[in-house]
């Protein structure tokens, strides 16, 4: 990635907003159906203090949940590398864990985790750990088998093979999963807030939607997107810090 033209995303965004604004004006879509960006911007400015207050609890839940997801995912990936039967037994359960619509077991969540930040964190973790775990597992499997063999001949334990070869080899794949998870984290927190909460952007959005104020809904979406983009950028920077060898090699040409 060329770091010299950070203007590109801005330009794309502006074009996107412009098209949207023009489309709304040209077709005369009413504001309660699809507000124009200009109107949303106005609302955003008006509601900013309230939005920021709600953002705080959402962002916190997203961050904590994401961190928990990463730990769980790394642990599971390492575990599954130990024996094929663990892999074969656990992998389907992971898949199943993702196919349960959280909303439909929401009461259980609240009974287990209460109304505080915990259920939100759990939802975020549940949503985020899967992409990281799969990317990590597949990335570890993709490690050069000859390098793994070399380590075996050196007398490495299984754990050493994981730590010295499989984990570092899986890092690019891991960060792909991390980026996916990071993108989902804030959304996960918002969904978590639908399960029952007293504050957060999810609360804000449901209320605004209930009052037919789509401009407020969109203002909240913009905040969610911004937080997500920041998180995404942070992950990208982290990747560059953790894998200097990787980016060095790729910027040679």
């Amino acid at each position: 990635m060329n770091r010299k033209i950070p203007a590109a995303p801005m330009i794309f965004l502006l074009v996107f907003l412009l098209v949207w604004e023009i489309a709304v004006r040209a077709t005369g879509v009413p504001a309660w159906l699809l507000p124009a960006p200009g109107q949303v911007a106005g609302t955003l400015a008006d509601m900013l203090p309230l939005l920021l207050e709600h953002s705080r609890s959402t962002a916190l839940a997203a961050a904590v949940g994401l961190a928990a997801a990463i730990l769980v995912a790394l642990f599971l990936a390492a575990l599954m590398d130990f024996a094929p039967w663990i892999r074969q037994g656990v992998y389907p359960l992971l898949v199943v864990s993702q196919t349960i619509p959280i909303i439909s077991v929401a009461p259980l969540f609240i009974i287990w985790f209460g109304y505080g930040i915990l259920p939100k964190v759990v939802v975020v973790a549940l949503v985020c750990f899967f992409p990281v775990a799969v990317s990590m597992i597949e990335g570890m499997q993709a490690a050069d088998p000859d390098m793994v063999n070399l380590l075996r001949v050196m007398g490495s334990s299984r754990w050493q093979v994981i730590r010295l070869v499989r984990f570092p080899a899986a890092l690019p794949s891991f960060f792909a999963g991390f980026k996916i998870a990071g993108t989902y984290a804030v959304m996960g927190a918002v969904i978590g807030e639908w399960l029952g909460a007293t504050s957060g952007l999810g609360v804000f959005m449901t209320r605004a939607a209930y009052a037919y104020q789509l401009d407020r809904v969109f203002a909240a979406i913009i905040i969610i997107s911004l937080i997500s983009l920041l998180l995404f950028a942070a992950i990208e920077i982290l990747a560059r810090l953790v894998m200097p060898w990787y980016y060095k090699e790729r910027s040679k040409g």
Partner: protein
Amino acid sequence: SPGGGSPGSGGEELKPVTVMLDWVPNTNHTGLYVALDKGWYEEEGLQVDIVQPTQGGTTQLVATGKAEFGVGYQEDVTQARATGVPVVSIAAVLQHNTSGFAAKKEEGITRPRDMEGKRYGGWGSPTEEAVLKAVVEADGGDPGKVEIINIGTADFFTAIERDVDFAWIYYGWTGVEAELRGLEINFLELRKLDPALDYYTPVLITSEKLIREESALVEKFMRATARGYEFAITEPEEAGRILLKYAPELDEKLVLASQKYLSPRYRDDASCWGEQKEEVWDRYARWMYERGLLPKMIDPASAFTNRFLPE
């Protein structure tokens, strides 16, 4: 924080109590927020936390005691009790059912049999289908000719833009919004179509266990809550503003207009706010049971109680 209880003013320990709404805070809940805002719960020694729930979770959570009180519907309580979920209705928020079928004026739906050949947008509950069928049939129409579409979470105004001709609304919120928008609608009020359908919606609920073991708590809660609703009945404007204080995300115009519509309807023709009649419970439960919506008939007398209403 919005909806949260404020710390006690006195030195004595406040008892934490959770109230779980049925959905987003709205004018059905005004009395709760008034009581909270005026400190009337604290006067009763309660620290009330009002929580916004997920759709459908409130009844179970109240039944398990995870929330002491909740907002539900008669239909829901009946269904729950028939399935063995031990919840009890302790007050009718509105004395009469203010919901009904609404359509744009140009659809020309002025009576149930006009629904023939139209498309109905519902949220997927089995009861609504039965209700629809019953009213169309009673008016001499063929319910088989009404197409039912699940519109899920989409709102009324969006749904009727495309694919849907009419839907079920609460007049006190959606109907008022239509008025504010200047959208002309035909509204068929449910209770006018069939007296059995004049059930309580919404109601306040609690669990059998709480009534059994901590009836004093229920009493205290209801005392403050009733005060809240009484205030909302007499001071719609101020009550509406209190609600807005706790849910600033809502639309001010809509809340105030809705409050004006609802305030006289909280008590309506009852002797006091919250009163429930066994007749209403019995009639609707029988109605549901006869249409196969309940696995078994409930005892209507134990589904509700008026004993916690202040004199």
